[in-house]
């Protein structure tokens, strides 16, 4: 991964009708990276993308592209292209004309336009669809046209605004893999907006988790998943058991009525903390062998594993296990030191 910064946002503030959408956002995006803005709706991720695209002017702060301030550059002069939510294809043009649109604006010779469009349609698996009307295409095909239309201009950065949101699950998975492949083969920067954590984790080099116009955490998917910085990130990135605890000293935490060894350190002794345990990290064992004992309240089969709700020490725990237990049964729960993540309490 190259370390040179291609886009840099400095202290960006955005207000809509007096309501703050972004609060002093700072962010550097590196060249050739697959960056994902992840967060619930209303967190400011799409707004951030639109600032880079040039469709939203920040009230305060600067946008830099390759070191040059581009705040006042209109969208049609920026070297970035966008794949819009629900595609925004030109309904009056066919597939070829849609993809060729940007090149025609640049007044390239017909011949070059033709080669580049066909090349691009081949890349997105739409060879032979040139003369179709865009309304005759399926959602997945329209999606590919939208991607081709943006990429054919050889942008240095491609912005994708929830591009897979309208597709069904199976198609989404296929497109995720395909998009990642395209990004790697073209070697350009992708900035991807989604509210789907799984999508973010599978595709990205870097994930930017956002909430209420603020960045919560920036890191690789592994970092974000394994070392969430706070309860919001932990909760948003997959299902988690988050319970209050007390950090007794380095490598020792008390929660659920007993002490656990852990791998975290650097907290003030006796600090109130949040303890995160992933559902798949809790091992189900006979009651005598468990750290905690609980009663199974509910079991749901989820395809590859069983999801169990277990009441233990006054808390409902979520456990994923490949073996089912009877409802009402007493079970033991074992949690290893490396499965425990300690986080500072979030100030609300």
């Amino acid at each position: 991964m190259s370390t040179n910064t291609i886009i840099s946002l400095k202290d960006i503030v955005v207000e809509f009708d007096g309501e703050r959408v972004l609060e002093g956002l700072d962010l550097d995006i590196h060249d050739k990276e697959f960056v994902t803005f992840l967060g619930p709706s209303g967190c400011g991720k799409t707004t951030t993308l639109r600032i880079i695209g040039g469709f939203v002017a920040p009230k305060n702060g600067d946008v830099f592209f390759e070191g040059k301030r581009i705040n006042d550059l209109p969208p049609y002069k920026r070297q970035v292209n966008t794949v819009f939510q629900r595609y925004a294809l030109f309904p009056h043009l066919n597939v070829f004309e849609n993809v060729a649109f940007g090149l025609k604006i640049q007044k390239l010779p017909e011949k070059e336009i033709r080669t580049r469009v066909l090349e691009m349609l081949e890349l997105v698996n739409l060879k032979g669809f040139e003369n179709r009307g865009v309304n005759q295409l399926s959602g997945g095909q329209q999606q590919r046209v939208a991607i081709a239309r943006a990429l054919v201009n050889h942008p240095k950065v491609l912005l994708l605004d929830e591009p897979l949101g309208a597709l069904d699950l199976k198609l989404r998975k296929e497109m995720q893999i395909e998009l990642k492949k395209i990004q790697q083969s073209l070697g350009i920067t992708f900035i991807y907006v989604t509210h789907d954590q799984e999508e973010a984790l599978t595709m990205s080099d870097t994930v930017v988790v956002m909430k209420d116009g603020d960045i919560q955490q920036i890191g690789t998917p592994e970092d974000i998943y394994n070392e969430p910085k706070n309860a919001f990130v932990a909760d948003f990135i997959g299902e988690s058991n988050i319970v209050p605890g007390i950090m007794k000293k380095d490598f020792l935490v008390e929660f659920a009525g007993r002490d656990f060894e852990c791998v975290d350190s650097g907290f003030t002794p006796m600090e109130q903390v949040d303890v995160v345990v992933r559902p798949e990290d809790i091992k189900v064992v006979p009651t005598i062998a468990g750290h905690i004992t609980g009663i199974v309240e509910n079991v749901t089969f989820k395809g590859v594993h069983f999801e169990m709700e277990v009441l233990a020490c006054g808390t409902h725990w979520l456990i994923h296990s490949t073996q089912s237990q009877a409802v009402g049964a007493s079970i033991g729960m074992q949690i290893g030191p490396e499965d425990i993540h300690i986080m500072h309490k979030m100030e609300e």
């Binding site: 049609y76 925004a88 309904p91 239309r149």
Partner: protein, 271 residues
């Protein structure tokens, strides 16, 4: 629902009051006073070629002016916020709800020789100009009366253009002018054709605007028809023949426009 028969009364009504009268026009156009077949009436219409040409020409000029004025306005309207859009639509419709006789009368008082405009010019020592009883005044009256008929269909179609499609064009490097010519214009073609029809048809068949603002010298097709039915020249046979020619002119105009518009859109627009 098996209620096909509930439409029967309306079918009878249509036959009596829509279809039968039009057949009567056809019959009258091709018969003389004694009820014998003749093409005399139709050939007599040829004597009024200058009136036909003038009607089509003035209506066409008014339609083009309406389009030029309405197009930017409709686009500006379609990009406003929802409550501002509602207010604008209301402002456009309000004059339309005033009876058009009153609206035309208003221009009479403004344009006449000792009217408001000429007095205004008088303040600067110019004029008075002959404005009333000219072809210009007739065109002005048409533009004023039918401008909303052009604005509203254009606005209806433009409001459907997704903002994201416009942003996509900008994103792909299109300047504002290019966005207008290569995205907004082609997407608004059905609105343009509906607007043209809705302005041209009443404009080419009007007889009040020409009478009130054009004086006696600028007769239009409508005036000719009126003269044959309620005027001194009472001759329903010739009047029917002229009506038939008028319908043919309009049918031609509409079939040209239909090439561009989608049927579905037009149905919605009329409501």
């Amino acid at each position: 629902m098996k209620s096909k028969y509930s439409a029967l009364p309306y079918y009878v009504w249509m036959a009596l009051f829509t279809i039968a009268p039009l057949i009567l026009v056809l019959v009258f156009a091709f018969t003389d006073n004694n009820g014998a077949f003749t093409i005399e009436n139709i050939s007599q219409v040829g004597e009024y070629t200058n009136v036909l040409v003038r009607s089509v020409w003035l209506a066409a000029v008014a339609t083009v002016i309406c389009l030029l004025i309405a197009y930017p306005l409709a686009y500006i309207m379609s990009r406003l916020g929802p409550s501002k859009q509602r207010t604008m639509v209301m402002l456009i419709m309000l004059p339309m709800w005033m009876n058009f006789l009153l609206r035309t009368y208003a221009w009479m008082t403004i344009l006449e020789n000792n009217g408001l405009l000429n007095r205004f010019f008088g303040l600067f020592g110019v004029g008075p100009f002959d404005m009333i009883n000219t072809q210009g005044a007739v065109v002005l009256g048409m533009v004023y009366n039918y401008l909303p008929f052009m604005i509203l269909p254009l606005y209806t179609i433009m409001v459907k253009i997704d903002n994201r499609v416009i942003e996509a064009a900008q994103d792909l490097g299109a300047s504002p002018l290019k966005v207008a010519s290569s995205v907004v214009l082609p997407l608004s073609v059905p609105g343009i054709s509906t607007g043209i029809t809705m302005v041209f048809v009443p404009a080419v068949s009007t007889f009040i605007i020409s009478r009130m603002l054009g004086g006696g010298g600028n007769l239009l097709i409508g005036d000719l028809i009126d003269l044959q039915f309620l005027g001194n020249a009472y001759n329903p046979h010739l009047g029917s023949a002229i009506s038939l020619v008028l319908m043919v002119i309009i049918l031609l105009c509409m079939s040209v426009m239909n090439q561009f518009g989608e049927e579905e859109e037009r149905e919605g627009m009329l409501i």
